[in-house]
């Protein structure tokens, strides 16, 4: 079973960000054979206050903890944000700020965004991609941007084909990736910690 977590930072209901997230998830499921794929959606809107509280207190509420664990344990991630003020939304960024910075190490990630105008589409490349690179995730080459006008476009090299190409890239990575195992805390025995400190000058 391949588990894909879908993080959607859309704020309105219904939300075009969530709509894009669902279409990407559906396409990824199709590429992977849906019966062996489990999609787990995390809607950040309902966690907005919990995320802010986590920033203040340093620990997540039970509901946020469950969401963070969903992302951490998933084999792959589809992350979708609206573009606000030329970048990802603050809520989207804050969620990844409170996620452990090793949680996505080696995880295939598909990035996508929505916006009122196509003029902001490169925010995916200059904001989301470097953020996931910092988290040492493996970001698929095709990032999907959906402006308002894209929802009305027909076939060709429109939104549908970009969704399909990106989902195919994610599926290809997932089918090659080794199953994800939870990171184990490594303990350095104390003798070793002490020995590492012996000054070079003593015999």
């Amino acid at each position: 079973m391949t588990v894909i977590a879908v993080v959607s930072a859309g704020l309105s209901q219904p939300s075009s960000t969530r709509l894009l997230a669902d279409r990407l998830a559906e396409a990824a499921g199709r590429h992977l054979a849906a019966e062996t794929t489990e999609i787990r959606v995390v809607e950040l809107r309902g966690l907005a206050v919990d995320i802010a509280n986590n920033l203040v207190t340093g620990f997540p509420s039970p509901a946020l903890k469950e969401a963070l664990e969903t992302v951490e344990r998933a084999d792959g991630l589809i992350a979708v944000t609206p573009i606000f003020t030329a970048s990802y939304s603050g809520l989207f960024k804050s969620f990844f700020d409170v996620l452990d910075n090793t949680a996505l190490q080696g995880t295939p990630v598909l990035i996508a965004a929505t916006g009122g105008t196509a003029r902001h589409s490169l925010a995916l490349e200059h904001a989301l991609r470097p953020m996931f690179t910092y988290l040492r995730a493996v970001v698929v080459p095709t990032a999907v941007y959906a402006a308002s006008e894209d929802w009305g476009a027909t076939s060709g090299d429109g939104l549908a084909s970009r969704i399909d190409r990106a989902a195919g890239e994610l599926a290809a990575l997932l089918s090659r990736a080794a199953p994800k195992r939870p990171a184990e805390a490594t303990l350095i025995p104390f003798e070793q910690q002490l020995a590492a400190l012996r000054p070079f000058t003593t015999g």
Binding site: A52, N53, V56, T57, G58, F59, S61, P62, A185, L187, I188, P189, F190, E191, Q193, L194, A196, L197, P199, T201, T202
Partner: protein, 363 residues
């Protein structure tokens, strides 16, 4: 089992009336609180060590020496002593001195401080945080146990034929706890030496600390100091009480809402639900504290944080009355009734002297 209080020593504006104590008032209040702790029958008073405003206690042995002169039974401790930025030679001497003045009523808790900038204030480099904690403590440990020390390390000048003075009281060093909020290396260090491990346990959910304590207990046994149950564990806790639970919530809420660490964040209700903080009746504090044993096993020391977030001195003293009269006597009885066979006693100077003498007789 020992019960006591630990203080951060913050100067915080009282959010209900806008008044801020002066440093002098806060320092004297800390002393009054310590004396009250002895009066109401608590066992331990521990002070933080901080070198940045709004905190006042930069000089723990000065304060503890003064309190030692005014008390008879209270154990004087720290929460924490900065093993990273204090010279271990000075720690060895300061606390041995205090031990003599206080007739052995001294132990201390090692920590790495609450802020990165403290390192350069004392000529150190934050990138060496953990190595400093390890090397400095290794030296301190020797200075208290060997009369003449030859030593060379990475972070201070070498020592040749050095004797730290005065020697520890009765030749027995103060008991040491190692405090950590997140580092498994420190739990490992405490286990290696067979020292105590203290989990702050106030701001975060218990699962986090349960993992660290479990690691410490396992490694304590691995290093041959006893069974995991015999490891020496201390815990923090935090409470605000009134006879009537609703009164406690009503009175504490403005302090909670503006508290420096968690204020302007979650609601009081969510925070008490998710962390060890109790705001309510003495019975509720008793009930919550007893659950600590379920999460962490039998333990030796419970310290409560009572004076912070701008609470007035008068209120803190009332809290200590409730703690000493209604909470701790019940906790002593209940914890004793539940304690497993073979669990270690809480460390005291007398017990450590006795243990040392027994070891000498056994050869």
């Amino acid at each position: 089992m020992q019960f006591g209080i630990f203080t951060v020593g913050d100067v915080t504006t009282d959010p209900t009336n806008g008044t801020t104590p002066t440093e002098a008032e806060r320092i004297k209040a800390m002393v009054t609180i310590a004396l009250k702790a002895e009066e109401v029958g608590l066992d331990v008073f521990a002070t933080g060590e901080h070198h940045n405003p709004p905190f006042v206690p930069s000089s723990p042995t000065t304060m503890l020496g003064y309190i030692a002169a005014k008390t008879d039974k209270l154990i004087l401790s720290t929460s924490t002593t900065l093993i990273t930025t204090n010279d271990p030679v000075k720690i060895a001497e300061d606390y041995a001195m205090l031990q003599h003045l206080a007739d052995g009523r001294v132990d201390l808790m090692m920590g790495r401080g609450n802020t990165g900038p403290v390192y350069p204030w004392f000529g150190q480099d934050i990138r060496n945080g953990i190595p400093l904690a390890i090397e400095n403590y290794a030296l301190l440990h020797r200075l208290w146990r060997e009369d003449v020390v030859d030593w060379e390390g990475n972070f201070r000048t070498p020592l040749q034929g050095f004797t730290s003075t005065p020697r520890p009281l009765d030749g027995v060093p103060p008991f040491v706890w190692h405090g950590s909020i997140r580092s498994p290396e420190i739990a490992e260090q405490a286990a290696y030496y067979g020292d105590g491990f203290f989990a702050n346990n106030i701001f975060w959910p218990k699962e986090h600390f349960a993992r660290l304590i479990e690691l410490y207990r396992t490694r304590f046994a691995y290093y041959g100091h006893g069974t995991p149950d015999q490891a020496i564990v201390g815990l923090g806790g935090q409470a605000f009480m009134r006879k009537n639970s609703q009164d406690a919530v009503r009175e504490f809420r403005p302090y909670f809402d503006k508290a420096p660490v968690y204020g302007n964040g979650p609601s009081l209700e969510d925070f008490t639900e998710q962390t060890p903080l109790t705001v309510g009746s003495p019975q509720e504090v008793i009930d919550k504290t007893l659950t600590f044993r379920d999460s962490f096993g039998d333990y030796q020391r419970q310290l409560f944080l009572m004076d912070h977030a701008g609470l007035p001195l008068k209120t803190v003293l009332e809290q200590l009355d409730l703690l000493g009269e209604e909470v701790v006597p019940v906790l002593r009885k209940e914890f004793a009734a539940r304690r497993k066979q073979g669990v270690a006693e809480a460390p005291t100077h007398a017990a450590l002297v006795q243990k040392r003498d027994a070891a000498l007789v056994a050869g």
